[in-house]
């Protein structure tokens, strides 16, 4: 008999025991490990997917912020450009104003310098001219300068025409006396000669007073009432002063124009 039924039962029991043992010690731990690993891998994959989605979201957010930044950068640049233009205009206006103030000050300084120069030239010129004329007259003639002045005054008196002479007589008649002012003191002889000449010219003796005025600068004048006949270096000096003042003003204008153009180009 090939089948031993006791062995059959024992083998069946052995097999069932083996099923139980392997289930406990092999299948269950192995399947638990596999399931745990699969869960972990699934969790890792889900985490990776979540991170990927987060990265995509952050990338989109970054792109959006970059676009916004680019837009705001353009706006900021425009605003900065506008402010820079305004500031440039303001600084230009301030520089122009300062330049105009400095130009006015410089022009005023030039005018002051011209005035001072004019006064200096006038004084120096008068003194020099007197000195030169005095020296020249002294060198060229035997008479003194004062004598010559008196002669010149007498020549002018004699050269008065009819209406002018009548006006002088009329003025003399209203005041009653003549006043002779000179830059130097006339000698008695000169005073006598002058009285005589006036008497001859006016056809009557005239009360004559003599007065010395240094500002006449080598000159002599005759005053009767509101009329005056004179010759004086001061008159010539006055005309020279006017000429010098004209020259100084012309130079000042030329200097202002030459400086005004560079300043304008520097501002712009």
């Amino acid at each position: 008999m090939l089948i031993d039924w006791f062995t059959v039962c024992a083998q069946a029991l052995n097999f069932l025991i083996l099923v139980w043992l392997l289930t406990k010690f092999l299948y269950r731990p192995i399947l638990a490990a596999i399931d745990a690993r699969e869960r972990r891998i699934a969790a890792d994959l889900a985490d990776a997917a979540a991170r990927k989605a987060e990265a995509v979201s952050e990338r989109d957010d970054f792109a959006r912020r970059s676009a916004e930044l680019a837009g705001s950068r353009t706006a900021l640049l425009d605003q900065a450009r506008t402010e820079a233009d305004a500031l440039r205009r303001q600084l230009s206006d301030e520089a122009r104003s300062a330049a105009e103030v400095q130009d006015a000050q410089r022009r005023q300084a030039l005018l002051n310098d011209g005035a001072r120069l004019r006064e200096t030239i006038t004084g120096r010129t008068g003194q020099e001219v007197i000195a030169i004329v005095r020296r020249t007259l002294g060198d060229l003639a035997s008479s003194t300068l004062e004598e010559r002045l008196v002669e010149v005054l007498l020549v002018r008196l004699r050269a008065l025409d009819g209406p002018a002479r009548q006006d002088l007589v009329h003025a003399l008649g209203s005041s009653g006396k003549l006043l002779v002012r000179s830059a130097f003191a006339l000698t008695p002889a000169q005073q006598a000669a002058l009285r005589q000449a006036l008497a001859d010219i006016l056809s009557a003796p005239v009360e004559t007073a003599f007065e010395t005025r240094a500002e006449l600068i080598c000159g002599i004048e005759l005053i009767a009432g509101g009329r005056k006949v004179s010759w004086s270096v001061a008159d010539h000096l006055a005309s020279m002063e006017q000429m010098v003042a004209g020259l100084v003003e012309a130079r000042a204008d030329a200097g202002q124009q030459s400086q005004a153009h560079p300043s304008q180009s520097a501002v712009h």
């Binding site: 090939l2 062995t7 083998q11 399947l31």
Partner: protein, 230 residues
């Protein structure tokens, strides 16, 4: 020479008999359980694991996939039974390379015991899946006339299951034994290799047929459906 290791009685006391089949079965069981204990002692649940754990996982997953491939959807429900069947048969047959070893599967008692386990498990799994009434109804479908034929089919396939495995393993052992007496060199080695292959094939066939029987029991059987003939 003996046809079955049952004939080698090591100890006997009344009806209790301790023969070589039972002892070798215990040895195979011990090897399997100890191997499982050693390998699963330090199981890794992480991504890195030992080579032995990888081997065990490969074996278990392969068996699970085979069960699912047969048509059992909840493969883990039947994994313990079917995988133990395969591992026990495979280990029993693989050990034939050990000199002096006689596979327990060369004993008709063992194959009958295993076939009976399958014979019992098929209706148990079927009742568990469909209920007692649903399972019994499958015996009289499509007509009551099919009932005796179905019962005969159940018995005959169980018998075929036992005889097939026993015949293959016993014949292999017998051939090796005969060849050892005739040509003690070369040929026994070749036949041992052939016996290894035959043993593995038979373990696979036995397990797959058990899975197919269980899968067939879980469904309402069409009249044309039958177990594949091997």
């Amino acid at each position: 020479m003996h046809l079955s290791p049952d004939e080698v009685v090591l100890w006997s006391s009344g009806p209790l008999t301790l023969n070589l089949t039972i002892v070798l079965t215990w040895a195979v069981m011990l090897v399997l359980v100890l191997s499982a204990l050693l390998i699963t002692r330090r199981l890794s649940h992480g991504t890195s694991r030992s080579r032995w754990q990888c081997l065990l996982e490969i074996i278990v997953i392969a068996i699970e996939q085979q069960i699912a491939g047969v048509g059992l959807p909840a493969a883990r429900t039947y994994l313990s039974f079917l995988a133990t069947l395969f591992l026990f048969l495979a280990m029993s047959n693989l050990c034939t390379i050990i000199p002096g070893y006689e596979p327990p599967t060369a004993s008709l008692s063992t194959t009958v015991a295993l076939a009976l386990c399958v014979f019992v498990s098929v209706p148990l799994f079927g009742i568990r899946d469909q209920g007692l009434r649903g399972y019994l109804r499958s015996y009289i479908e499509p007509t009551v006339l099919m009932l005796p034929f179905t019962i005969i089919s159940e018995l005959s396939r169980t018998l075929a299951l036992a005889i097939r495995l026993f015949g293959n393993m016993m014949s292999g052992a017998m051939i090796i034994a005969i060849l050892l007496t005739i040509t003690p060199f070369i040929f026994p080695i070749v036949m041992t290799l052939l016996g290894l292959l035959t043993g593995m094939v038979q373990a696979y066939i036995f397990s797959i047929l058990a899975a197919v029987y269980i899968a067939a029991a879980l469904r309402s059987r069409p009249s044309t459906q039958s177990a594949p003939a091997v």
